[in-house]
C-alpha cells in the first residue's frame, strides 16, 4: 500500500484539554491529519503531512511550550 503522505510519530505529554491549543499550532496546509493516543504512556502524537520535517514540527511544538520528541 502506498501512502502519498509522510507519517511522523512523537512522544509528548499532551492531554485531551490541550486539543484546541495543538490544533492552532498544527494548523498548516502541510499537516493533513493529526491524532494523539492519550491512552498510551508516551501520549503518542501521530501526524500525516506533506513537505514538513520532523524537526520543524518539534520546533513548532516546543516553542509553544509542549514537550515533543521523536518516538523511537
Amino acid at each position: 500500500m502506498h501512502n502519498p503522505y509522510t507519517i511522523h510519530i512523537f512522544k509528548t505529554a499532551l492531554e485531551p484539554e490541550d486539543r484546541d491549543a495543538v490544533e492552532n499550532i498544527l494548523s498548516s496546509d502541510n499537516i493533513l491529519r493529526w491524532t494523539v493516543d492519550y491512552e498510551d504512556i508516551d501520549k503518542v502524537l501521530r501526524i500525516e503531512s506533506i513537505n514538513i520535517s520532523s524537526e520543524e514540527i518539534i520546533t513548532l511544538m516546543t516553542h509553544s511550550g509542549y514537550s515533543c520528541e521523536e518516538l523511537i
Binding site: 500500500m1 501512502n3 509522510t6 507519517i7 510519530i9 491524532t35 493516543d37 491512552e39 498510551d40 504512556i41 508516551d42 503518542v44 501521530r46 521523536e70 518516538l71 523511537i72
Partner: protein, 196 residues
C-alpha cells in the same frame, strides 16, 4: 520518512490477536504489543493511530473474512435445508481453522468497539442471509418466527457443539470431539424444528 512493510503488518496483527486472546482487551497496550512483536512503539503508529484504531481495524478484517467464508458454495436461492447445511459446514470449518481469530472477535463483541466494527461492514452478508430466509419462508420451507428465535434455533446448537469441542469434554463425557456425524445429527433436528 517511514514506510509500510506488509510483513511487519502481518506480525503486528498476529501478535495483537494472541495478546488479546491471552490477556483480554483491558490487559492489552501498544507498549506490550511492541515488545511482543519485537518492533518499536513508533512502528505501530505508522499503521494505526491508537489502540482503538488497531483493534477495530483487525476485528473488522477478521469479521469480513469470517462472513465471506460462510458464503462459500452458498446461494440465497438454495432450498433452506441445503443452505443451512452449507452455512453450518462453512462456519464450523472457519471456527476450527481460525480458533484464535474467533476468540479475538468474541473478546471484542461485548465491548463498545464492536459497534464501530459493525458500522464498517458493508451489509452484503446481512442482505444475502436476509434474502435466503425470505425466500425459504415464501416457499414454505421455513416457519415464520421472530428473528431471535429463528437465529437461536438455527445456529446456537452448532456454536454449543463447537464449544464442547474446544473444551474437549461435555457435562456428561470426559472427552468430546465434534465430527460430521454429530453435526449432521444435530442439524437434522434443527431443520425439523424450523419447518412450518
Amino acid at each position: 520518512m517511514r514506510t509500510r512493510d506488509e510483513n511487519k503488518e502481518q506480525i503486528i496483527r498476529q501478535k495483537t490477536i494472541e495478546l488479546v486472546v491471552k490477556e483480554g482487551l483491558d490487559g492489552f497496550s501498544m507498549q506490550k504489543l511492541a515488545k511482543a512483536a519485537k518492533v518499536s512503539p513508533a512502528t505501530l503508529y505508522i499503521y494505526y493511530k491508537d489502540k482503538e484504531d488497531l483493534i477495530i481495524s483487525i476485528c473488522t478484517e477478521l469479521t469480513m473474512h469470517m462472513l465471506n467464508d460462510s458464503l462459500k458454495n452458498f446461494s440465497p436461492d438454495m432450498h433452506f435445508d441445503e443452505g443451512l447445511k452449507i452455512q453450518w459446514l462453512n462456519r464450523a470449518a472457519f471456527y476450527m481453522k481460525y480458533t484464535d481469530e474467533v476468540h479475538f472477535i468474541e473478546q471484542i463483541r461485548y465491548h463498545q468497539y464492536y459497534q464501530k466494527v459493525l458500522r464498517n461492514l458493508d451489509g452484503s452478508f446481512r442482505e444475502t442471509m436476509g434474502k435466503f430466509v425470505h425466500k425459504a419462508r415464501e416457499r414454505k420451507e421455513l416457519a415464520e418466527l421472530p428473528f431471535e428465535v429463528y437465529w437461536s434455533v438455527a445456529f446456537a446448537p452448532l456454536y454449543q457443539l463447537i464449544k464442547f469441542h474446544w473444551q474437549g469434554r461435555s457435562f456428561s463425557n470426559e472427552s468430546f470431539s465434534l465430527n460430521d456425524k454429530i453435526m449432521m445429527q444435530t442439524l437434522n433436528l434443527v431443520l425439523k424444528a424450523l419447518r412450518p
